[in-house]
Symmetry: C2
């Protein structure tokens, strides 16, 4: 790769530096068909238009596959495999680098620049993948511990299986939405009086609407049914990462979840950020996760321990009055299980993984109060309130509240690898 | 509709009488592209070929939509809606009826008969739907009670929520396979010694491989995210029904399922029968389900109580020695919650349902020992053995065992509405 300085104007502090090159699905007012793009600074590079104008003429590997850039999801591009993602990313970095060896491709072609570079503010983002199955794990050790303490006390906070396998459950793929999609407060069955001996449920708008700060990873390689993905090959089956907010209805969950786990409490919406950061782009920010003091079975044992990412995560809550408060700051290394471990475990039974499957990390919380990834932990299941700027306070989310998750790697303002934002605003419940 | 007697030879006792007309996806040796067909007696009527030969010329409603019959799944046909399914089924019944008003369409056209009617034995069946999300409910009251007794004793057998809502969980769509697909015994984490105080897991082939006798229903109408399907409209959103075997790894389940429910125990395979029986065809066999002695919330209350089906279900186990034993016989009315109730509950939060989503009923068991839909119930979690013909016995499934579920409505041998079979044979676990 050439230098990370670009002839193209990339604002300092942009999440989408030349070191990043995240992929997404865009449409524009003048061209409403969703298609593949990458983000660079404040712009999207429309890869369909770029390919159509022979932008990839110097990259023979991608030429037979250029139709993938006209798809309305990243599935076809992802299915080409990690080596191709790598080549395409590096080529785009080269094209944009100050000392590009391909100046004629874009640097000196102002007409083409106008055609293929669209300001992000003029772009509509779509769900990046057609998601076959979505699985949500529970790998955030501190979150699992905090929640366990609330419901079972410190002695039994973690279940006996917790440090032996990445606990997870199958989620609802159809309700995964792209950042910016409004989230309607769900109605559902809740207990009228949870403390009463006789359990009488009512249909009610959720009163304990919560967030879950997570990462999501997309699968880019299918395995045949009956054939597990070995831990050593799992990393190569992962396309990239997004920020994720797994909205949760805690009162619905408390009533419904025995004995088969959360269902309606989770199926009304899961928001992901629009730009998928490639695994390659995250490689320089690999780190160890949390230490596991249990002996892990060989099928989950990784040669390299650095399979977690040090992504600086932040959650902001903006109330309808317009006041915004940072309610959590933490690092994505606060996980006990890595995505490769999740994938190896998921498929150990022979479960067929497909390109476009989404794996959620589980809620990410640090150890300190200001580092917790759910309101449930912050308010100790409704016991305390979270103080917000402007004098507001919250236990759980109110109508009109907007949650913004952001995440970024690195400290060099010219070479940040960030995710942009994962945003959702709560709309009032439907009147039943 | 005309008489149910046909000019076409339909063997007495066929599941696919003229009263049925189930839909499926076929391919043949001479035409390997999967396409839509219906089953009639021992034959499949290839609807792509039938449409291409102007078979639907007398049915103007379907003509703009005939491309749906060339699809490799029923999703596009299903999306046309219940009124169209109804018209197409009735038209096919008319074409095949003895006193057909359309004799030229097929009855007297022997060349066309040769072209579009394929013996079932020469047909390869495919998964009928491209399944977006698969949800498995737990509506079999007797099963839930029996399992609850085994794990929590009779006093707490049913959880407090059980009679107030259809308990369910999100399943794994990618591992739903069509009847006849072999099922490989999964490997997974199990406790080496479950009774020991220190919980030490091992990676092992599942030793408690079980079946679950279920029905599955396919959704044919999408709802927008945030907009629940009202109970009064739920029946109209259901395309039809299949038999289902939700293979279960009980030892994996016992270790993994706290606190988020079953995961690996269920994601290695779920088998469904190949022909989808339309809701219309099942209408004459509607009946009440099990009585619910709890007051049900209005969003789950049905005007008509007869929203369950009286399908005679049977499970046969054939060992590798070739001996086959009927191990269960029951009726599908042994459910506390109907499919419309499941759909209304599933979407009460605004969860978006999509065409091709699959809803599983949960395991169906009657009250008597010979009517239980899982081995777990039959063997009291491994305490007793099930005696098979030929002197074999089983607690759980052995390698090479083949499970066949069959289901049929009605008693008139000339007008059965049946599902054919849902078959799966266990292959040995992969050596790890």
């Amino acid at each position: 790769m050439s230098s990370l300085r670009s002839w193209f104007s990339i604002p300092r502090g942009s999440h989408f530096s030349l070191a990043n090159i995240p992929f997404g699905i865009i449409s524009t007012a003048s061209s409403k068909t969703p298609r593949v793009a990458v983000a660079i600074g404040d712009h999207a590079l429309d890869l369909e238009a770029f390919a159509a104008s022979n932008g990839f003429s110097a990259l023979s590997t991608i030429q037979p596959h250029q139709a993938v850039f006209s798809q309305s999801s990243l599935n076809a591009f992802a299915a080409l495999g990690r080596p191709i993602h790598s080549v395409v990313r590096k080529y785009i970095q080269s094209v944009f680098s100050e000392d590009t060896t391909y100046p004629n491709v874009l640097k000196t072609d102002f007409d083409l620049q106008k055609k293929v570079l669209v300001p992000l503010k003029d772009v509509k983002m779509h769900l990046p993948f057609k998601i076959g199955d979505y699985t949500d794990f529970y790998a955030g050790l501190n979150h699992a511990y905090n929640v366990g303490v609330l419901f079972r006390g410190p002695a039994n906070a973690l279940q006996p299986n917790y440090k032996h396998l990445p606990v997870g459950y199958h989620g609802r793929a159809s309700s995964v939405v792209v950042s910016g999609t409004p989230i309607r407060r769900p109605n559902g069955q809740v207990l009228s009086n949870p403390a009463a001996e006789k359990k009488v449920p009512a249909l009610s708008p959720c009163q304990k609407l919560d967030i879950e700060l997570e990462l999501g990873a997309f699968v880019c390689k299918a395995n045949n049914m009956g054939e597990p993905v070995p831990i050593g090959e799992a990393e190569g089956s992962l396309f990239g990462v997004v920020l994720m907010n797994d909205w949760s209805a805690r009162d619905i969950q408390a009533w419904e979840y025995v004995p088969l786990g959360p269902f309606n409490a989770k199926n009304f919406g899961t928001t992901i950020s629009a730009w998928v950061v490639l695994a390659d782009a995250l490689a320089p920010f690999k780190t160890k996760g949390l230490e596991n003091d249990s002996e892990v079975l060989p099928y989950l044992k990784e040669k390299d321990e650095k399979t977690f990412y040090d992504i600086k995560l932040q959650v902001d809550l903006k109330t309808p009055t317009g006041n915004s408060t940072t309610i959590s700051k933490t690092s994505s290394r606060n996980l006990l299980w890595s995505f490769p471990q999740m994938l190896a475990h998921h498929s150990i039974t022979g479960c067929p993984m497909q390109v476009g499957d989404l794996l959620g990390s589980g809620t990410i919380s640090g150890l300190e109060p200001g580092e917790r990834g759910s309101l449930l932990e912050q308010n100790e299941n409704g016991k305390t309130s979270i103080m917000l700027s402007g004098g507001d306070e919250r236990k759980f989310l109110g109508d009109g509240d907007e949650i913004t998750i952001s995440g970024v790697c690195g400290s060099d303002e010219d070479a940040l690898v960030g995710f942009g934002q994962c945003v959702g605003r709560i709309e009032p419940a439907l009147k039943m």
